[in-house]
Amino acid sequence: MDFTLTPDQEAFRERVRSWLKANIPADWQRKIGSSDVPRPEAYEFLRRWQHTLHDAGFIGLTWPKEAGGQGLTFMEELILHEEMAVAKAPPMLNILGVGMAGPTIIAYGTEAQKKRYPAKILSCEEIWCQGYSEPNSGSDLAGLQTRAVKDGDHYVINGQKVWTSLAHIADWMMLLARTDPDAPKHKGITYFLLDMKTPGVTVKPLKQITGDPEFNEVFFDNVRVHESQVLGEVNGGWQVGLTTLMYERLALGFGLQVRLRITLESLIELARKMEKSGRTVTKDPVMRQKIAQLWIDTESLKYTGARAITKLLKGEMPGPEASAGKMVWVETHQRLQELAMEIEGPYSQLMQGTDWALDGGTWQYTFLRSRANSIEGGTTEIQKNIIGERVLGLPK
């Protein structure tokens, strides 16, 4: 067991730290409106930010060099995320591309596909979204009904996706569609790389609990996709899709922990300036208990993640500690957001748009947004089934 870094890793940390110090745009948090999920008006700013990070060589650290990456290990990725958190850097916009689409294309793509897509993902020239969930298939993802029918050297796609983050600004979609309706449900699905500008693709914003249209519905009306856009085998899309989800848990997992720590530090700042019954919140023994527990849970997430990364560095697959990560993150983040409301007290009722709203009303947004955490990326109930069945070996 050793938490120290090699001289090379220390040097990398120094380089990241000094670069961030010189390059983080001032006042970016005001533009974003939230440290958790970017507001729609911030997308152009975030696109430029990722481009700048890419020019400095900080995007795709674990990607192979021939795909435009840096060929480094998860350790450097971890250092980068930690430093970005400490420096309160803006988030990465094309996270679905960098974390999921890119690695999946590198794993399953043809030479032509590997040449065409990954580089533009890193530079944020092309933003990706994920077309998995449908109105009638969320937790039961393999039951998806969007159809792709062969017509010459094209497939014709009809159907609908929902909860599609970034679809309204995305250039490409990782699309799962059913190519063989007669096969068992896991065996008739194909993974497509879909150009969002193809005729017949309609994106409709889905106004959510926050009042913002962060997610979308995407409709496919006779959308023609060339067969060269299939990723992996025809009818082999389920396996490809699962690979993407594995990368999702790995790549997004660490970023989430770091963002949680940033949010917790903001919560502590809030607690320092608020009073309860004439006493600063941070001096109230009950509130101290609650904040300390959040700190402990956030740290536990970090070390549970570190155990998973250690296994990855040794070439093993992460075990139970990885499956527990998402659940812990969700539960901790939702509790943190609830505590922010408790600290604000009656002020928690005020939204952005009045000078009386605390911190510009950002906590109200992140509080409401956090309700999705236990639903998106696999509901907490599904995570518990996965842990119960695949980790503990309990019967279905």
Partner: protein, 375 residues
């Protein structure tokens, strides 16, 4: 970075598990519960032969010379077997001698502790049940070149079998309560020393009342300088305790998972019902997080990094809650059988409870965390 165990540590785990599966079966544990000593000479001797009684002491003092990460592995296995006896108390006493003792004191006691010929303990808390310096009211008076101690210590683990007690006493009223605390060695049979074994809920852990009446004692370390080494000892012993708790919690999860696979209700194994399955998943999350924090704390105290105190408190706060919850859920998912004396679950449930209140519970350590993060 490497947040995993070395092949040697994995081997230690395998050896310890096999040893305890043979030597520390449920019948052995139950027999020791029913007796005052809580341990047999034969069993203690074997622990010594394995090199486990002196695992973390330097070889020059007769120890095995390993670190706290190694100890973590061993303690996890001991917790898994809900091992009775004065292992943790002897570790406490030994660590205090290692931290504060002179070279001669270390040579005298650590060798005997390591080979199993001496048991030790730490007599710290008093009827006030405080873990802080103002709680130390046992007084030490200079007398004839040495000291005599007077006071009452409570919740002293295994004092009735200890060959030497490290006693925390007040030598002066310093500016701060911490400033006037010193550590002393009191050998078994010292004049004015009485120990009384108390009935405990967790019968695998023996606790005593210790009375000192003008008891002659030898200073261990610097006069008025006892608080800093005591804090370090407790910080380290806390990590060891957390590891033991993690091992126990993991065992409860294992027992419960196995039972949920074979117990049939309404024609199906109960583990197929989400009401059971989801609670088992919650147990796993508690166990895994407790391990992550404990392993990190073990590394932090081993390396003596600045955040060691924070790491130790985070681990104890989390693990205190986790073991209690996991042991409770274990009983619930077993149903009626889990509530019987015959089933081993209550041994773990009670160990979780006694461990929760050893070295401070979750509430106490959350407040420490709050202080350490400058809240």
């Amino acid at each position: 970075m490497d947040f995993g165990f070395s092949p040697e540590q994995e081997m230690l785990r395998a050896t310890a598990r096999k040893f305890l599966e043979n030597e520390c079966k449920s019948e052995f544990v139950r027999a020791r519960m029913a007796e005052p000593a809580g341990v047999t000479d034969e069993f203690w001797k074997k622990l010594g032969e394995q090199g486990w009684l002196g695992l973390v002491y330097p070889e020059e003092f007769g120890g095995t010379g390993l670190g706290f990460v190694d100890l973590t592995v061993l303690m996890e296995e001991m917790g898994r077997a809900v091992m009775p006896g004065p292992f943790l108390s002897t570790l406490l006493g030994g660590l205090a001698i290692l931290e504060a003792g002179s070279s001669d004191q270390k040579k005298e006691w650590l060798g005997k502790i390591s080979d199993g010929t001496a048991k030790a303990t730490l007599a710290w808390t008093e009827p006030s049940a405080r873990w802080d310096a103002p709680g130390v009211t046992t007084t030490a008076r200079a007398a004839g070149g040495g000291f005599t101690l007077t006071g009452t210590k409570l919740f002293v683990p295994d004092a009735h079998v200890a060959d030497v007690l490290v006693v925390v006493a007040r030598t002066s009223e310093g500016k701060r309560a911490e400033d006037g605390v010193s550590l002393f060695l009191v050998p078994r049979g010292a004049k004015g020393l009485t120990t009384k074994l108390l009935p405990t809920m967790d019968q695998t852990r023996k606790l005593c009342e210790v009375k000192l009446e003008d008891t002659p004692a030898t200073l261990l370390g610097a006069k008025d300088g006892g608080w800093a080494p005591l804090e370090r000892v407790v910080q380290r012993a806390t990590v060891a305790l957390c590891a033991e708790m993690c091992g126990g919690a993991q065992k409860v999860l294992d027992m419960t998972t196995e039972y949920a696979k074979i117990r049939i209700a309404f024609g199906k194994p109960i583990g197929s019902y989400q009401g059971v399955k989801h609670r088992a998943a919650d147990m796993l999350v508690d166990v895994e997080n407790a391990k992550s924090l404990t392993y990190y704390a073990a590394w932090a105290v081993d390396e003596n990094v600045p955040e060691a105190a924070l790491a130790s408190s985070m681990a104890k706060a989390y693990t205190s809650d986790a073991y209690r919850k996991v042991a409770g859920a274990g009983i619930q998912l077993h149903g009626g059988i889990g509530f019987t004396w015959e089933h081993d679950l209550h041994l773990y449930f009670k160990r979780a409870k006694s461990s929760e209140f050893t070295f401070g519970d979750a509430t106490y350590h959350r407040e420490k965390v709050a202080q350490l993060i400058n809240l």
